[in-house]
Symmetry: C2
């Protein structure tokens, strides 16, 4: 006998069982339909790329997390670690075939050799949508509306989108002569929720002195309405500027769409990355802020600087798929997935042809229907149906065959409807399924 | 200025542009819906696995094609090169959480460092469906029916599924005392279509002698009907056996489902691999056999021998996604994809809020609708709509706003319907879309 190998999975990687995979596919379908309903189009890029194409001249924290190696042809290659770098590469490489402004979405796996002790996975999905090639406030509005609609369509309730504008913060830091420290300052602010106000104050004072620190703390403390918060920002910036005007335009449109209650202007939102230049946003589930943001992003003015000297502006958002799945599982109380609507039991191998023919008749009515593939004892077949959460069964024996009927079994209520004409039987099946879905 | 990097893609890898990606997603959705309608459930497995888990003790031709490397933790890892080995691994690892007989499908990317000169790609999709854990003829029947239904649902016309039974061939070789040469013999038969009858005859004679060669050639030459071909096989096997009986059961069920015309018993079908033990099948498009099989597979009796001593039987099929996409593109004359149903043009930035509100009203009727994100010249906006193949546009200016109307533009027929009430306007939009879809 050959040596048996243990069928183990790499640390940080996961199998997806049918229950989870069905849930995930439903979620992706809802998202894809929502994005498409806004005129966004899908793309895909390779899982493997040249290492220098993904990482540039290299360095930085990302590097160590990237799965990179030499392929059999001696090329330095790496598995993609996000969908933003591939988007930039894609846009530069396919420029002449892309319709700008380019509204695209991309749902796919990425790989990072992260420390799994923090509950992180090394293989996970990203779901990004961006509008590339325009700097207009209209694109900002569209992304915000699509964020709200996407979460609603997924059945997420009780979420708030917190937004701010990095351009206003930059203006404020400029006025206070600390623009050169902006990277450090915004990283400190970004950690506020995690480290608390006192520690933030300490770090900022150390960096900028007490006076500026107090001004910054004043700047990032939201007032109790959009208008009041914005007015404070305007006054701290010595009057209106292009970015405060832009926020007004955005909020006016949200109000006109009667969805402003989903959005909160919160100057503590900075997003840690250098990358963003305008609107930035994060989304928290009410009563579950510690889960972290489930949908974040912002405006950038130079997407593809790695590949071209041309400035390509855009705005994008990224959905935290794993977090949302966790949130949805909680809210649905892990209700088991219905893996099929109807099952035709097999009590007589002689009748196989008829069993499949009947199943096909049932499927024609939009009802998913399978045939149990062996004429095993019925209690084994019932146990199978129960595990797959199938609400209705059909029995066809010699009697049914002769009379052109079927026996329908309501597997939840445990009721039988014996020897009914096939079309009436299918009606009955449909009505039982409707009941169980309510 | 930093050094710019050329945004190039690895040889054998491809970007998927929106047009292609929309087409592919539609195809996957149809397949997933079909498989689910038969009670099949989806799974997923990691892209990366331990190298020895995927390759066993190594060796063989596959090895050189596999992307394998040492990860940052020093583990030997490899990217999956098919979905069959991961299925076997998955089943052994998750045995207690799987419902047997296990009907699963898996559509996902795999990677092979193949020679790209033969038009092969190094990253491509596989689409597999299997019934694992039963040896019943009923499972064979189900797989055959599902193959036929899947191709039909995809809109493939003119296909034939050629099938045979490796068990019968084995019996025949046993009777003729050449069972020990079966691997070589079936590989030669498998190449018949490629190398021609004369060359096949030469190779077989060399291997088995002239007499056996002639018997084999007789065995693999189909007669002009299922019954005649089967009867010849039975007589060449000195009478019925379990495998010829099984073929009768299968064909009877196909007849009872009135789909036997899609299936041809063809003993030249052997599938090169050792792996198969019973029913084997390949699918060719009529008039396009040189494209190769678009849907192939067969029955195996020992799926997971790498991981367990337990024999796990099953039957599975694999769809050649790239070939089918090529076939569908041909038959559709590359009709451009409609990337959105309706577009709201922007002629006045002051009205942005109203534009998005109107788009939302339109979407509520199940019509995908986008807003052009800038108030650019209308001819630029029209050009954008044309490139995205959008059939209807909406214009809202100050007049429309004041009168609570919209102007609807049929972008194909180039007709305007000016200032109509919004609900009537949406009706008009829906009717124009219906026309263009016919």
């Amino acid at each position: 006998m050959d040596k048996i190998i243990e069928p183990k999975v790499l640390k940080g990687f996961r199998d997806s069982l049918p229950e989870q995979e069905i849930r995930k596919k439903k979620m992706f379908r809802i998202l894809e339909e929502t994005f498409s309903s806004f005129g966004f189009v899908p793309i895909d890029t390779p899982a493997l790329e040249y290492t220098d194409v993904l990482l540039g001249k290299g360095g930085g924290e990302t590097d160590k997390q990237v799965y990179s190696f030499k392929d059999n042809g001696g090329r330095d290659v790496a598995m993609r670690f996000d969908l933003t770098v591939p988007l930039a590469r894609f846009i530069t490489a396919n420029k002449s075939n892309i319709i700008f402004p380019f509204k695209r979405f991309h749902i796919s796996k990425v790989w990072r050799g992260e420390n799994t002790q923090r509950g992180r996975y090394r293989e996970f999905y990203q779901c990004d949508f961006d509008i590339v090639g325009t700097d207009s406030p209209s694109a900002d509005i569209e992304i915000l509306i699509m964020m709200k609609t996407s979460l609603e369509k997924l059945g997420i309730i009780g979420f708030k989108i917190y937004f701010s504008n990095r351009g206003i913060l930059n203006k404020f830091l400029e006025i206070n002569n600390v623009k050169d420290k902006s990277v450090e300052i915004l990283r400190i602010i970004d950690k506020l929720a995690k480290i608390g106000k006192e520690k933030t104050k300490g770090l900022l004072t150390e960096l900028t002195g007490a006076e500026i620190c107090n001004k910054i703390l004043d700047f990032i403390t939201p007032a109790d309405s959009f208008d009041k918060t914005l007015n404070k920002l305007i006054s701290l910036c010595n009057g209106d500027n292009a970015e405060t005007e832009r926020l007004k335009i955005i909020y006016k449109a949200l109000r006109e769409n009667e969805i402003e209650n989903y959005f909160i202007l919160d100057p503590t939102i900075t997003r840690g990355l250098d990358y963003y230049t305008g609107l930035v946003f994060e989304t928290f589930l009410e009563g579950n802020r510690e889960m972290g943001s489930v949908l974040s992003g912002g405006r950038y003015n130079n997407l593809a600087s790695l590949y071209t000297n041309e400035q390509i502006p855009g705005i994008g958002a990224s959905i935290g798929i794993d977090r949302l799945i966790a949130a949805l599982e909680e809210s649905e109380n892990k209700k088991p997935q219905n893996m099929c609507d109807c099952i035709v039991f097999n009590i007589d191998d002689e009748l196989i042809g008829l069993l499949y023919k009947t199943a096909e008749e049932i499927r024609k009515q939009g009802i998913s229907c399978e045939v149990y593939p062996e004429s095993k004892k019925l209690n084994k077949q019932f146990a199978y149906a129960e595990k797959k959460n199938i609400p209705v069964g059909v029995i066809i024996g010699k009697d049914e065959k002769e009379s052109g009927t079927i026996t329908v079994k309501d597997l939840i209520a445990r009721k039988n409807y014996e020897k009914i004409q096939i079309q009436d039987g299918i009606e009955k099946i449909a009505s039982i399924i409707r009941e169980t879905k309510n």
